[in-house]
């Protein structure tokens, strides 16, 4: 999360903030939450700066506008870059956290951060893909002193959200462009494309970087449904934690997410003893330690 250093004077007057996200849909790279805030009295002028929904702008124009708003002393901004490793692992955790929860957490993190800097936020405009009213209630409960306006397509309705969308989008594009690939395998390249599953360049990159054992480099969001189609011929991996999960599921709880546990697995369920030793039939000391006697191997 990067923020401006010093607090301007106008920040102690009532302020308005917009929050928007970039890179929610892509199968690779980080997801970025961005916010832009200014004094309520500056809103009119902000509207004249020609911020539009970042998706309708060309990349160069977005970059230009981002540089403008960074130089503008009447505007403050902040970003939260969510690593694809974090997205995948949270969505594949034992207790799974879905993308909406991650998104809400990020947006609330931005509000907290800006408030703790001493900015007097009175109104916050938030873009959403999910149910606006539920989200608004969640935000209002957490920050009772702020008036929240949650709307779909808020990025094209409110200039302060359009500005936030530019912050988020430019940050996401730069982050992907400069992404340091963790893996050191040979023949890796950086033609990621946009990261959207339908982008031919992205498809090509995914095909080029598929690995039978590791799946993909960690730039890829393993929890995305798109990955499944690439994992058809990949080595099967069964997780001890998924086994526990299945046992628990027989008890009822129908609220299972997409069968992420089986990403890339096409064959039938395996028996537990193939996944790990269980010391069945031995005394408790061994069972508790999963110590099986193995005389032939």
């Amino acid at each position: 999360m990067s923020l401006q250093d010093s607090l301007p004077k106008w920040a102690s007057k009532p302020c308005v903030m917009g929050i928007d996200e970039a890179g929610r849909g892509p199968v690779l790279g980080p997801m970025v939450y961005g916010c832009l805030y200014c004094a309520s009295s500056y809103l009119k002028e902000l509207s004249s700066l020609n911020f539009a929904d970042s998706k309708t702008l060309k990349e160069e124009k977005r970059e230009e506008l981002f540089e403008d708003l960074k130089a503008n002393e009447s505007i403050g901004w902040a970003v939260d870059v969510i690593d694809p490793r974090e997205l995948s692992s949270k969505m594949l955790n034992k207790v799974k956290i879905n993308l909406n929860e991650i998104s809400h957490g990020s947006a609330m993190g931005l509000v907290t951060k800006v408030l703790s800097m001493g900015v007097l936020l009175t109104e916050v405009y938030v873009d959403t893909v999910g149910d606006p009213e539920k989200y608004r209630i969640k935000l209002s409960e957490k920050f009772p002193n702020i008036k929240f306006v949650v709307a779909k397509k808020a990025d094209s309705l409110y200039p302060v959200v359009s500005g936030a969308s530019i912050v988020a989008k430019v940050t996401r594009d730069r982050a992907l462009r400069e992404w340091a690939l963790e893996e050191t395998a040979e023949n890796m390249h950086r033609n990621f494309g946009s990261g959207y599953p339908g982008d031919p360049t992205t498809k090509c990159w995914l095909e080029d970087h598929k690995h039978s054992v590791f799946g993909f480099p960690t730039l890829v969001r393993f929890s995305w449904g798109t990955c499944t189609s690439y994992f058809k011929d990949v080595v099967e991996v069964s997780w001890e934690s998924d086994k526990v999960d299945e046992d628990g599921a027989t008890g009822g709880s129908g609220k299972k997410q997409l069968r992420l546990s089986n990403v890339g697995i096409t064959t039938s369920k395996r028996k537990s003893e193939e996944i790990e030793s269980n010391a069945k039939g031995r005394c408790k000391f061994f069972q508790a330690r999963k110590l099986e006697q193995l005389s032939r191997f």
Partner: protein
Amino acid sequence: MNAQNGRKGEATVDFDFDFGSDPKALDLSGKIHQLPCTIKFDGPCPVSHYFKPKSTGIEVDGLNVEEAYFRGRKLQGATISLPEGYSGYVLGKKSLGKSKSSDQCDDSSPWQVKAKFDNITYWNHDTLPSQDDTFQRTFHWLTVAQALHKPVTAEDLASASAALNNLS
């Protein structure tokens, strides 16, 4: 597998393997990972190019927590030394000739040490490592086994029977 030589259920391991001129090449310490999953694959794999454990700086139960990702899941683990007096071995069959599927080779030749290691990194999915982890607890057996198999001295018997008498 039906052992033709030796008793049923008995494996022979040849520990007198010549580690050659460069013993380090066959010391896999720091490269042995125990994952909380089964990977249905057996063979060489560019592990160090993809699996990148990092130290987190967090310490739990005296364990330095490491972090790595595999197939999109976050793993948290710790590297532990094998107890004193114990070593880890990677065993393989002696390769007699090139034919891979030779049953005769599988059955008659003893297991052989291919490499050794003195520490192992075990990984939990989504939980911090601790001394309560099953993997850590397996080592309790070594202490128990030692106590069980220790020769009993005359003094031991005397003190044990004295203790029994005191109880009754």
